[in-house]
């Protein structure tokens, strides 16, 4: 398996810049979270990587090959997205045979086992399923298709809590059996945090984080206490968010705290989880697409 390199991708719609010189690499056999607020450019990016739409500038490379219109390279990529090719009479088993036709070596046995777990029959028509079960059917295809890079755009859309748990479990299972790269784009950050090895955060068309989750969380803090002491302690740090309640000030920072900073008794430093780190880093972001 080869590295996937996204090189200075820029995408504009009219005057609006959706992606602004985005560059990063995906390593083989790792699980990535692609996080961003609505309108940050996540879906556009995934669509460009998988050659469904085209960038104004930049390239996507698999190893040394440009993937643009390169069927051999694109045959290593699979994108599961909201987009509906909703052919009225498509049955789930047609999705399976479609994946077999396009990619070969579809894991029919595991796919059927997963469908049973989701309590769907392969003879059911996709258009007649609820949003959640449609997602479950698409996930079943995505986790059993023969590709080295699997992109999951909002893979939990409409799934109830039980089915989301089942998806997380099935993902760990298939990843354990055949490690390959998964890129998960979702807003349910707390739920996927422990599934991820690396995280990429897209904010208003730019990459602002690209590193292992462990490294990011190791330097993500919430600091709270009496205002003046918090100000003293955080002097010189970049404050991402700040909140006052009565005489207590709570701020978030995402950077290493030097050992020599002495912590006053009344000031408390806590680690942030991935979701809080994300909201702190993207609080200036726009909402709505």
């Amino acid at each position: 398996m080869e590295k996937l390199k996204v090189q200075t991708i820029t995408k504009r719609y009219g005057r609006k810049v959706i992606l602004d010189a985005v560059s990063f690499e995906l390593q083989p056999a790792k699980i990535y979270g692609l996080l961003g607020r609505n309108g940050a450019g996540k879906s556009t990016l995934l669509n460009i990587i998988t050659n469904r739409i085209f960038a104004n500038q930049g390239a996507v490379m698999l190893g040394e090959q440009n993937v643009n219109n390169n069927q051999a390279s694109l045959g290593q990529f699979y994108l599961m997205s909201e987009a509906e090719l909703n052919l009225k009479h498509t049955k789930i088993k047609d999705l399976f045979s479609g994946a077999e036709l396009a990619y070969g070596n579809f894991d029919f046995e595991n796919a059927r086992r997963m469908l049973t777990a989701f309590k769907i029959s392969e003879d059911q028509t996709l258009a007649k399923l609820s949003t959640g079960l449609k997602t479950a059917a698409k996930l079943t295809v995505a986790l059993n298709v023969n590709a080295d890079y699997i992109f999951l755009d909002e893979p939990t859309l409409g799934l109830d809590a039980n089915h989301r748990e089942l998806f997380y479990h099935e993902l760990m299972r298939t990843y354990g059996e055949r490690p390959r790269t998964f890129v998960i784009s979702t807003h349910l950050i707390n739920e996927v945090q422990q599934l991820l090895e690396n995280v990429i955060i897209l904010d208003r068309g730019k990459i602002i984080v690209d590193e292992p989750v462990i490294d990011l969380l190791a330097k993500a803090y919430e600091i709270s206490g009496p205002s003046n002491l918090v100000d003293q302690y955080t002097h010189g740090l970049k404050i991402l968010t700040s909140h006052n309640f009565s005489r207590i000030k709570t701020v978030t920072v995402v950077e290493k705290l030097a050992e020599q900073r002495t912590l006053p008794d009344q000031v408390k430093v806590d680690h942030l989880d991935l979701q809080k780190t994300f909201t702190a880093l993207t609080d200036g972001g726009n909402e709505g697409e």
Partner: protein, 125 residues
Amino acid sequence: MHFEFDQSAPLYQQLADQLAEMIFTGIFKEGEQVPSTTQLSQELNMNPATILKGMNQLVDQHLLEKRRGRGMFVLPGAQKQLAHQHREAFYQDYVASLVTEAQRLGIDEEQLLALIKRGYQNGKA
């Protein structure tokens, strides 16, 4: 076997601590195999790289050993070593914080000693 995770420490650290506790309490016995990275990953829905990092901490502490192609095993003496570590940590985790909290509440040394004696008496009952 039951694991619980919160945000107090990195996940791999919490996993390592909880596995160590299971070794200490004898759920995993010396010489026995512990669940594999893949098994734990599926059981906990957790990235196997995180699990491996946690397990490697225990390998570094000489509590587990990797046997090539077979998995991870609890090393002889692991339980004794953990007991020693627990005693070492007892001062920091309990005594030091007990004294700090007592001072915060205005409980002096004599009163604190009396309270500890009371704890012993209640413990006997």
